[in-house]
Symmetry: C2
Subunit: 347 residues, 2 copies
């Protein structure tokens, strides 16, 4: 039971096949060099017989390049991130790459820490989702340090891809948050809504900012408006959404007809807060979200939102890192307004 037969090595295979180490290596793993078919077959048979599996770590050391992709997300259990992760993993699988996963818990310092630790892995690709973007704007020390770290990583041959945000200075698998939110705003204004409140994350989050700005533009265009006091800053989570809406209702709805949460998990929290306050979401006050996470259509009322193909976003992130010319992976993923019962037409 405590047995400890070490796995067969290439050495073993070579010996078993009666060839040199070099030949064994060449026959088993791709090589420019051709090897005599007879030898090749002997090696393959020997490998089969011994149950040989190459040691990826050793390969990485020898080749000087690993086959792992490091994925860093804010929160693994958040459907937004887990959907993206699913896409990254699926695509990585196709490329025979291995995905390692870490969670920052939305703490920029922790994120910096993690990225630093990650260097030890020497991953070929580093995918950051839900990260605060880099240098522009009022960057915190942690953001600046992160940016420097990423630069160093790229300089040493690694590829960094951001997902979700937009950062001119780095590859980004992106969606047009502004346009999507604007379209949603216009659609809602078209339904007759005029008075809004926005539930959103703190100011560091580019994604949240863009969605807020887009929404503002959209409703403005449609004749609505948004007072600064109706922008509710709260953690970018279900509980954040719940708390913000609960507090706002307690303080007086004051004419607000619709809560736009800049992501669906907050919107789900908002729904519950509304219901817990004794109001009927949809009927008494409408709710809209962003992302179209899987449960969006299963909550009640089903959530009006902007559909984002999250898994596709993850897939593209990897493509963006792997392909020299990004192709259509470089273009923003297309979003689509999905009107559901949480925002009934307002007569």
């Amino acid at each position: 039971m405590i047995g400890s037969r070490t796995p067969a090595t290439l050495h073993d295979v070579a010996r078993e096949a009666g060839v040199s180490l070099a030949t064994a290596s060449r026959s088993l793993n791709g090589s420019t060099r051709k090897v005599n078919e007879e030898y090749r077959q002997r090696v393959l048979d020997a490998a089969e017989r011994l149950g040989y599996t190459p040691n990826l770590q050793a390969q990485a050391v020898a080749r000087g390049t690993s086959s792992t992709v490091a994925l860093v997300v804010a929160d693994i259990a958040d459907p937004y991130f887990s959907s993206i992760a699913a896409g990254v993993v699926a695509e990585a699988d196709r490329e025979h790459l291995i995905v390692t996963m870490t969670a920052t818990d939305r703490d920029p310092d922790r994120e910096l820490d993690i990225v630093r630790q990650l260097r030890a892995q020497r991953p070929r690709v580093l995918v950051l989702a839900g990260s605060r973007p880099g240098p522009d704007g009022a960057a915190s020390p942690a953001q600046l340090a992160l940016d420097a770290e990423l630069d160093a990583y790229e300089l040493s041959g690694g590829r960094v891809v951001l997902v979700g945000g937009e950062d001119a200075s780095r590859r980004t698998a992106t969606l047009d948050n502004f346009a999507g939110a604007a379209a949603l705003g216009r659609a809602l204004a078209g339904l007759g809504y005029r008075r809004f409140a926005v539930v959103t994350g703190d100011e560091g989050l580019r994604t949240a900012e863009d969605r807020l700005a887009g929404f503002r533009a959209g409703i403005l265009e449609g004749g609505g408006g948004l007072a600064d006091t109706d922008v509710l800053r709260t953690p970018f989570t279900r509980d954040g959404g719940y708390a913000a809406v609960r507090d706002r209702i307690a303080a007086g709805l004051d004419g607000v007809e619709l809560f736009f949460a800049t992501n669906d998990v907050m919107a789900v929290g908002a729904l519950s807060a509304i219901r817990d306050a004794g109001l009927a979401p949809g009927a008494d006050v409408a709710v809209a979200g962003f992302d179209d996470i899987p449960v969006a259509s299963d909550v009640t009322p089903p959530l009006t939102t902007v559909r984002v193909p999250l898994a596709e976003l993850g897939r593209r992130a990897l493509r963006l890192a792997l392909d020299e010319d990004a192709g259509d992976a470089a273009t923003p993923v297309t979003t689509e307004v999905v009107l559901r019962a949480s925002t009934p037409p307002r007569g």
Copy 2:
């Protein structure tokens, strides 16, 4: 921009510090050997100056043991698995272990394939969640092969942990599915329900089977019953739950008062199916689930379910693999019936 300065190696550090490779290694990474404080400091400084980060792959090769944990789940985007994954990752983080992730898409053949591929990684620990268990019962060829593969892996020094199911022959981070479902069944019977239908996965899934059996025992005890025709076999997913309940309603509810879905994602699908059929979930027909995934309390009506501390389950899985004596990680995680509005008392 295309720069390719390779990261500093231990060699570089040693040279910079003017000491031998051995001393550098000893000062930077744990070692039984003591090293002169002055030398140590010189090495540390040099490492700092050069921005040295050890190469984990090389360490793994040299040490003959890696620091990675391979996590295999059915579906990353499923809240059940992503919650477990979050727990595994959190605990791994504490132990400075790296988690790699793969998804089987619920395909046993694919799972086998993945586990085979995984050997190349030489992970220290292999965590399988949502796997069909091994040898007992009517095992498919893929299951048998998987079992053999896992045995081989353990023989070569790896540690396998299953999560969620129960398998006597392997370490398992477990919950008492039977007891939890039984308690739920009793509670529902206590609320006055007598006639049930169970929405569950196909017969290979131990978890599903245990929950079904437990539930059956619970309701029997409470005076309820379960006809074989009221056991609805369907894929273990949201859409599976939806389809099964939709079809059942179409075929005639025939007195069924409550749908028990053996997991929450199916239950969520059930809720939508009921609503889409023009019935009011809770009022017209009740629904209960299992797991208490995060959205369970946010759907409408909030879902009666059995709470399972999923992240804790993930944490324990890792502990179980790491600790020689499992301690309380070996005992089943405690579950708790959570009654919510989806199962109103039946008067």
